[in-house]
């Protein structure tokens, strides 16, 4: 079965540089989520998109932005990188089942490891 595809898997940047991470959700999934996971930490929610519109926003720095495109893939853009941005960035996708229904499952990608030097 198709999974969530993230690229690149590894990325090394210098401080103050810019990075872009890409996420391709599972086909027919309409919601994409971005999470950041520091070493030994739990995944922290950054932002999500439903049908190409931002649906929720978490602890995403102002230096970061994201969008979801017409083919449902999403990109996370990170500018003015800082050492503390080094982390695993996960994308997850899900298919909503309609309002008031049971919770749906988030499927995670393998992650993109960003190292800022």
């Amino acid at each position: 079965a198709a999974g969530v595809i993230q690229s690149p898997r590894h990325l090394i940047k210098e401080k103050r540089e810019t990075a872009t991470l890409k996420c391709y959700p599972i086909p027919r999934h309409d919601t994409v989520y971005w999470y950041q996971q520091g070493p030994g930490q739990d995944p922290q929610f950054l932002i999500s998109f439903y049908e190409k519109m931002q649906s929720d926003k978490g602890s995403i720095p102002d230096r970061f932005s994201a969008q979801q495109f017409s083919d449902y893939h999403s990109e996370l853009n990170m500018s003015s990188l800082e050492l503390g941005d080094s982390a695993l960035y996960f994308c997850a996708s899900s298919a909503r089942q309609g309002s008031g229904s049971g919770a749906n499952v988030l499927t995670f990608g393998a992650g993109s490891r960003l190292t800022v030097l």
Partner: protein, 111 residues
């Protein structure tokens, strides 16, 4: 404030030694409690969803249960391949699909 707390932080067991992991939550309007398994450097892998108190789900050596305040992940006769970090996450409020994670329990099974 919504909180998800997992305990213990780390657990080492001998192969075959059964135990339980705890996830306690204080949230307004639980709409689902999720268990994920995460191997080092990989994405979380879905295990179970529980919706209401009293619900139980099983998969191989794992069994998840839910009360109004906490969830347990019971592991029976574990094997070394069960070594991983087990994450608990909650979904709250209708119309908000994100998951809020606990800090996880790092489980090590010693052969």
């Amino acid at each position: 404030e919504d909180q998800v707390t997992q305990s213990p932080e780390a657990l080492r067991l001998q192969e075959g030694e059964s135990s339980s992991l705890n996830c306690s939550y204080t949230v307004s309007g639980l709409r689902g409690l999720f268990w994920y398994r995460q191997d080092p450097g990989k994405g979380p892998e879905f295990l179970f969803t529980l919706y209401s108190a009293g619900e139980e789900k099983e998969k191989e050596r794992l069994k998840a249960t839910l009360t109004k305040k906490e969830s347990f992940l019971h592991i029976t006769a574990p094997k070394p391949e069960d070594s991983a970090t087990y994450l608990c996450a909650v979904r709250i409020n209708f119309g908000n699909e994100k998951l809020t994670f606990g800090t996880g329990t790092r489980l090590t099974i010693i052969p």
